[in-house]
């Protein structure tokens, strides 16, 4: 059904062990273009570690992570980002002392080396891009506000906005709705569906109601291995998944 060209990210035999403990164990996973995939699983299943491995934060013991056919393992983090992968952290990571505008500007994907930064000009193209992204993440009215004054939910959106500045082909979000109000969750679900149009999104999430609303496909991780994979309905029917995760 899926041809080679539809696959954006393919992970083969990915293993990482910390002092003999295999946090991720011979993982095989592939993500298609334009897919919204959710990874669920109990605490310590290795969900965040998988994201860390893809974006280069943690070095794999062995295995392969191919993005558009290119091996990512061993690449420097900033090069992985520049190749088209954006990653949001679990706790909102924004720059508290900079304004929303400046937060987004830092992520503007041109002139990101020392010399480029010295020469960088806040051109109309930069301003327009920032305004467009701010509108997407519901922060258009708050461009001049310092990051520290945003609500928790707005910080989460801002970080997603920072990733969107790069227009990544793969967006990885670690618990994007944690700590959000129901209204904010609603808007986030809408946001994710909107930005999913021309990119793949990989999300870690605990809130099953939210997962049900957004996921195209769900992967259940347990003890560093894949326990089940498929549509949300098939996962909910799965006996083993109910035993280790959903049943509790």
């Amino acid at each position: 059904m899926t041809s080679e060209t539809d696959i954006l990210l393919s992970i083969e035999d990915l293993t990482v062990s910390f002092d003999g403990f295999k946090a991720v164990d011979a993982l095989k996973l592939s993500i298609d273009r334009n897919e919204l995939r959710v990874i669920i699983g109990p605490n310590g299943a290795g969900k965040t570690t998988v994201l860390d491995l893809i974006c280069g934060k943690t070095r794999a013991t062995h295995g392969s992570v191919k993005f558009k056919g290119h091996e990512l393992l061993g690449m420097a983090e900033h090069k992985i980002v520049r190749s088209g992968i954006g990653r949001k952290f679990q706790t909102p990571s924004i720059y508290e002392n900079l304004t929303v505008f400046e937060n987004l500007e830092i992520s503007y994907p041109h002139g990101q080396n020392v010399l480029g930064c010295l020469m960088f000009q806040r051109s109309d193209a930069v301003i327009q891009r920032i305004e467009r992204v701010a509108e997407t993440v519901f922060l258009k009215e708050m461009l001049e506000i310092e990051g520290s004054f945003l609500s928790h939910g707005q910080k989460q959106w801002l970080e997603i906005g920072m990733l969107l500045m790069h227009d990544p082909e793969l967006l990885m979000l670690d618990e994007p709705v944690a700590g959000m109000s129901p209204a904010e969750r609603e808007r986030t679900a809408e946001l994710l569906n909107r930005i999913c149009a021309n990119r793949a999104i990989l999300i870690i999430e605990h809130d099953m109601e939210f997962v049900q609303r957004i996921a195209h496909k769900v992967t259940v991780l347990h003890l560093g291995k894949i326990l089940a994979e498929g549509s949300m309905a098939s996962i909910q029917q799965n006996e083993r998944v109910r035993d280790v995760y959903l049943g509790h």
């Binding site: 900033h78 020392v114 930064c117 020469m119 960088f120 920072m162």
Partner: protein, 388 residues
């Protein structure tokens, strides 16, 4: 034009601050001090180059180096080597067994100039080396450490170790470095006697101008995107890295810049004081320079200059009267800064301004509450406003 004014001078408030500092060091002090005291101030101002570099490195990039004396010393040694070679002409040294080489080499039975001394016969090369030698060393050290993600305390300790190694290395190789005594008896720069009063005045003003240039360059760099990236890096290094930046290269850049500034300071020190020795390279001066920056306020480029002047003036006065107690006082000062005013003099200044602004506001609201005093109240407000 307006943009340059905003970026380089920091707008009106930045310009006023700079103008006040220029007025103090270039008009008030030269008019009120004799040449001996002014020469001392000139010496302190050369330390201020290091302090300004530290504001850039420590305050703005969050990287604490306890080895800035390395770069100050290297800049100083480069300049001293040139001056020493000029002072060691064959006529001046004809009583030596090998004329034409520095006296300390002759005392150590060295019969010809070591190869690394030879380029320092050239003045343009020396000027280049004053900046390039510290910068290249900072680049090597910085790349080795930051690419491996060495930071924080480990970075501080390693820079301190390098400072110790360098000072011991200079100390232990008397034949080629002058050893513990350093390089002394420096006389002329391209035939111009640097020991005369008029030369000391000129060198003092040169120091002031170059210091102001360093501050302006730093301000400009911090006003570009680099300034915001550095701020972001201090807040959330990982976020910056995962936004497509090679974080290490930015740290290497700031380390190199602070090293270059320190090197210039070191060269000016040698020109004004007339010698350099390993005691200016090692751990103690490196830490003292951090204290200057801390007292001034580690985020304030101008504060660093005031901090340096204040601590050194205190040091001169105290050490003339209580030589034993001075170090304790210095330690106490550092603890006090860290505990009670972490933003240094600059922080106190900002707090003072806020208090005054609040007091003014309160006075104005009070006046509005008493409309009967319509005739007198504006007078009071006016005079009060002028005092502020």
């Amino acid at each position: 034009m307006k943009k340059i004014y905003q970026n380089v001078f920091g707008g009106n408030s930045g310009f006023i601050g700079l103008a006040l500092l220029s007025l103090l060091i270039m008009v008030v002090l030269p008019l009120s001090l004799d040449i001996f005291r002014l020469n001392l101030v000139g010496k302190y101002l050369t330390y201020a180059f290091v302090a300004v570099g530290l504001v850039f490195l420590w305050g703005n990039s969050g990287v604490l180096s306890l080895g800035q004396g390395i770069f100050f010393g290297l800049g100083g040694y480069c300049m001293a080597m040139f001056l020493k070679l000029e002072a060691s002409s064959p006529e001046n040294t004809k009583i030596q067994s090998t004329p034409g080489i520095p006296d300390f080499m002759d005392w150590n039975q060295i019969t010809h100039l070591p190869a690394f001394w030879a380029p320092f016969k050239s003045f343009p090369f020396t000027l280049l080396a004053v900046i390039a030698v510290p910068t290249v060393l900072a680049f090597i050290l910085g790349t080795a450490m930051f690419k491996r993600r060495v930071g924080g305390v480990y970075f501080a300790v390693i820079t301190q170790a390098v400072a110790l190694i360098l000072s011991l290395g200079i100390d232990g190789n008397q034949g080629i470095t002058g050893g513990r005594n350093g390089i002394t008896d420096l006389r002329t720069l391209l035939g111009w006697d640097i020991r005369t009063t008029s030369a000391q005045y000129k060198l003092y003003f040169l120091t002031c101008i170059l210091l102001l240039v360093c501050i302006l360059v730093s301000r400009y760099v911090l006003s570009t995107r680099i300034g915001r990236v550095l701020l972001a890096m201090r807040d959330r290094e990982d976020r910056v890295r995962f936004s497509g930046y090679d974080v290490a290269s930015f740290k290497v850049f700031t380390f190199c810049m602070s090293a270059a500034m320190s090197g210039i300071g070191g060269a000016l020190f040698v020109l004004q004081v007339g010698f350099i020795s390993p005691s200016l390279v090692g751990i103690v001066p490196s830490i003292e320079m951090v204290i200057f920056a801390a007292v001034g306020g580690k985020m304030s480029l101008l504060g660093a200059v005031y901090g340096t002047l204040l601590v050194n003036t205190g040091k001169s006065l105290f050490s003339e009267n209580f030589p034993q107690l001075w170090l304790f006082f210095m330690g106490g000062l550092f603890i006090a800064v860290v505990m009670f005013f972490p933003n240094g003099l600059a922080g106190l200044w900002v707090t003072l301004q806020e208090r005054l602004a609040m007091a003014k506001q309160r006075r104005q609201t009070r006046q509005r509450e008493i409309p009967d005093d319509g005739l007198e109240a504006p007078e009071i407000a006016k005079s009060g406003g002028e005092q502020i």
